[in-house]
Amino acid sequence: MTSIPSDRAEPGVYEVRDVTRIFGHGDRRVEGVAGVSLTVHSGERYGVVGESGSGKSTLIRMLAALDRPSSGRIEFQGRSIGELPDARLGFLRSAVQLVFQDPRSSLNPRMKVADIVTEPLRSRLLRGRTDVPTDRSRRLAEVLDAVGLPASAARRYPHEFSGGQRQRIAIARALAPNPQVLIADEPVSALDVSVRAQVLNLLNDLVRDAQLTLIFVSHDLTVVRHICDTVAVMQAGRIVESGPTAQVYARPQADYTRRLLASIPTLPS
């Protein structure tokens, strides 16, 4: 694993400054994300850990511009994205791709795998961008191969595949437009342990080979420790601790991180 000094001067792929996202108003006003700042560097594997309601999904939805901050600033490669209209987010949509927890609900059951995987390449926002592959059938073959699926998978429907294979399809679709950043939201949480290991190995290889920046969201600190070199621990919308994963894991500073680590059930050793 490459170690990335946190104090280096060059700007990050993502610069997030004091971002807050408020839902509802009056009595029902909730700060989903409250005053979060972070920097994700190019090539970094950045883990976001937290339990349900910690704000981790809201945070990455804003990083992907699927949601907008109520206040604060999010820069992607030096461009502020918080207030840009969708029509002007083409550069972000091609450079940043997402993989979600449950491939059953994120893959359209009526589309063949070939159409699912190449859908981002046909998107109006992405078409014509120089960084997006134009030869769709060639790119389809490349990414299916990269995720370890046979070429024949292209002609089949999602329901014909197991959970782990469906997650491979979702990863293939995310890779199709040749992104620089992969955001994975609990990508292995719905999978059996044996399949989880396969998908984590795949993600590890892909991120290394394609030199991707990875933002990996999980409730599972052990998985994040394995995949990520930097981790931010979120609780109630705030980052309570962040730093190199090995350090946070071995010497947690925040009470909440310690409690989280102590709660992980362990096998007898």
Partner: protein, 288 residues
């Protein structure tokens, strides 16, 4: 495979339990056998589709009529298979109780949870006028719900996932069952909430001296609650034994694979994780 660890007659004796659907054409459970002694805690591990939940549902007589169930399920020596729904319903919720993964499926969304716990008590005990409410509140408090009066007067949707799972645990324990079947009781919960619910189940089992059949895909969770464990694969029990031996020094290659994939903590970060295929060649080839 017998896993009777304690002396005396087993509470539950399962022999050659098989389940088939589609008029016998699709066999999904193959000759599963095990014993549970009074107070014993048996874990059932395996991947999704291995037959863990099916085994529990077959024991409880909760499979649909389209299922062909053969073999034998004896409760204190009496055969349960083929018993009518009325006889089984008398057992379920009193001597035999069950906690499922998703508490909302076990709770009635239109009824306050205190009344639901009380109803389980009243169904199985003759009228205890005026005495049920204090018992329900004591039960809710014993599963770690801090404000039992407020919880009892809440509807399920007003509670968090962890609170609901505790209410369901209270419902399962209100009649002091002799056997508690838990099917992935903490899988939907956050890790800190899971730790609390597991500790509660552990305490409750100890207090009531109840036996437990604990189903989970998470080996570490099973290791926290159970003394013995069975490993299921493709509808069969392929391995079994004391938790310590099975998880420390697994002999069966499939168990060795399961344990290796669960031990993320032993792998150098960033390096390749072991997969079951490294240990055990299954029938299905290729990546899963």
């Amino acid at each position: 495979m017998s896993t009777t660890a304690l002396t005396g007659a087993p509470l539950l004796a399962v022999r050659d339990l098989s389940v088939a659907f589609d008029r016998g054409r699709r066999r999904v459970l193959h000759q599963v056998s095990f014993d549970i002694a009074p107070g014993q805690r048996l874990g059932l591990i395996g991947e999704s589709g291995s037959g863990k939940s099916l085994t529990a549902l077959a024991v409880m007589g909760l499979l649909p009529d389209s299922a062909e169930v053969t073999g034998s399920v004896r409760w204190r020596g009496a055969e349960l298979l083929g018993q009518g729904e009325r006889a089984l319903a008398r057992l379920r919720g009193s001597e035999l109780a069950m906690i499922f993964q998703e508490p909302m499926t076990a709770l009635d969304p239109t009824m306050k949870v205190g009344r639901q716990v009380a109803e389980v008590r009243r169904l199985h005990r003759s009228a205890e006028p005026g005495r049920v409410r204090p018992l329900v509140l004591a039960m809710l408090s014993s599963v770690g719900l801090p404000d039992p009066v407020r919880i009892a007067d809440s509807f399920p949707h007003q509670l968090s996932g962890g609170q609901r799972q505790r209410v369901v645990t209270a419902m399962a324990l209100v009649n002091s069952p002799d056997l508690l079947i838990c099917d992935e009781p903490t899988t939907a919960l956050d890790v800190t909430v899971q730790a609390r619910v597991l500790a509660l189940i552990d305490q409750a089992l100890t207090r009531e001296q109840a036996a437990c059949l604990f189903i989970s895909h998470d080996l570490a969770v099973v290791a926290q609650v159970c003394s013995n464990v069975l490993v299921m694969l493709d509808g069969r029990v392929v391995d079994g034994g004391p938790v310590d031996r099975l998880f420390r020094a697994p002999e069966h290659p499939y168990t060795a694979g399961l344990v290796a994939t669960a031990r993320l903590d032993l792998v150098e970060p960033g390096s390749r994780l072991p997969v079951i295929g490294d240990f055990y060649a299954s029938g299905a080839a290729g990546p899963q």
